[in-house]
């Protein structure tokens, strides 16, 4: 075979590939499902075969190489077969993937439209209160169907003492609690109330009274922000340090987790300012809380 016929052969293959490309682009234009399937994917397989055979000379390569490549492709098929029943299907034996169902019914197509905030559950019938948005460290809260926010419960299992330490819990934040005034200034655009809902309310309670669901199981009890004595006993710097470096840093329970890696200083200041609004004794403003800790 002379040099020219070699290159002419390759150019011929290339021409076929281009034709196939054109068909695979035009085919789906007609919008028939099976036509799209055949033209787009069928032709893709043919093109891949042509490139592998003529360009990569797989046909004259030793058989062992073909077997290696076929094995890796078969393994991917095996992975697909083992995983699809759980990921592709949205329901199965005794389980429903509410998140996927919810995402299918309220899809996000355009950059503008967001999940309908605060919408009720998917049809799985949770009677729970507003569902939590995923926290992503505060900030953008996509609506999320996942499970149920634990509404402040009448029976907070109060008598269930147990000698557990206090735990801080970043539960997914509910929608913004109406009552709390948005705190201005400290960190522009940062919603301290939402941060409190997502990160603090599980232990400190949505009313800041220290008996959130997880708080109930803790000993010592989480801090109660509605109790004026709490604010007299310490200044904002100590509260800031407790939030930033965790309870152990200020001699309190190590179960109060350090939030320094999730919220920056300005955001923590905004949270501290927000906590003051729980104080029932006429809201000792941040300035007045200058007593020694």
């Amino acid at each position: 075979m002379s040099a020219e016929s070699h290159s002419r052969h390759y150019i011929k293959i290339w021409a076929i590939l281009v034709v196939l490309l054109v068909i695979s682009v035009i085919g789906p234009m007609f919008g028939h499902k099976w036509l799209t399937l055949i033209t787009a994917f069928g032709i893709a397989c043919v093109k891949a075969y042509l490139v592998a055979k003529h360009f990569m000379h797989l046909d004259i390569e030793k058989a062992m190489i073909r077997w290696v490549l076929i094995t890796s492709v078969v393994l991917m098929g095996l992975f697909y077969a083992g995983t699809a029943p759980d990921v592709m299907e949205h329901t199965g034996l005794h389980w429903t993937n509410d998140a996927a169902i919810y995402a299918s019914e309220n899809p996000v197509h355009e950059p503008g439209d967001h999940h309908a905030a605060g919408a009720g559950e998917g049809e799985a019938g949770h009677a729970a209160g507003e569902h939590g948005g995923d926290a992503h460290g505060g900030g953008d809260a996509h609506g999320a169907p996942a499970g149920a926010e634990v509404a402040s419960t009448a029976e907070a299992g109060s008598e269930q003492g147990g000698e557990t330490e206090e735990a801080a819990a970043p539960a997914p934040d509910g929608e913004v609690a109406e009552a709390a005034p948005a705190t201005a200034g400290a960190a522009p655009g940062f919603d301290a109330a939402a941060a409190f809902q997502s990160s603090c309310s599980t232990c400190h309670g949505e009313a800041g009274d220290g008996n959130g669901p997880v708080g109930a199981a803790l000993n010592p009890k989480p801090a109660n922000f509605t109790d004026p004595a709490f604010w007299e006993a310490r200044d904002d710097a100590m509260v800031h340090k407790a939030i930033k470096e965790g309870g152990a840093a200020v001699g309190k329970s190590p179960m109060m987790a350090p939030w320094g890696s999730t919220y920056d200083d300005a955001q923590i200041d905004a949270i501290v300012a927000y906590l003051h609004h729980f104080n029932t004794a006429g809201g000792a403003t941040t300035e007045a809380a200058g007593e020694t800790p």
Binding site: D98, G132, G147, E155, A171, V214
Partner: protein, 226 residues
Amino acid sequence: MPQLFLDQASSYAHEIDNLIWIIAAAVGFWFIVAEAVFFGFILKYRAKPGQRAAYIEGTERKYTRFISYPHMIIILFDVVLIAGSIRVWYLVKQQLPDADRTIRVIGQQWAWTFVHPGADGELDTDDDIRMVDELHVQVGDTYHFQLTSTDVLHSFSVPVFRLKQDAVPGRTITGWFQPTRTGEYDIQCAEICGIGHGIMAAKLFIESPEDHAAWIAAHNPTASLQ
């Protein structure tokens, strides 16, 4: 069959225990045989001066028999174990007897929330009783539980029921149990869920019908609006 360490407090607990004992017997037998042969060879064929090892290809029928026959029997044992395991798995996880009551179990970073159906026995009615880290059930009733999680993976694990099912955020998984012994037992979280995974303990109260009715009355939110 003798039970394992923990009491058997659910209708299928003894099934799982029996399966564990069958596996223990089958597997223990082969373990002892293998170790005995192994240590036997070591002691018997220690190097003795002037006595050389044999030259055995390992393909002669005479010797390979001693491996292939045990192997066939092991395959038989495996088939028996597979059958026993699938039977128990079907009983616990695949079939779902109709329920006297249904509860909802919500796992969240570091607390279990149990929604009991309340006096009317129906879930999602206003007389539901939401308890944190306390599950009250009546002995003898068949319960369905709808398990979900609000943030990360948790695992609803009740050792005395021999029951374990992961709570996956975004999914609702339904399972069942039927308590058979009264008492107060542990509920654990068996999937790592962050800093408070260690304190995610909850209490399981299996009560007689009278105590359970009394508990419901005591906790009925509409009745006792304190």
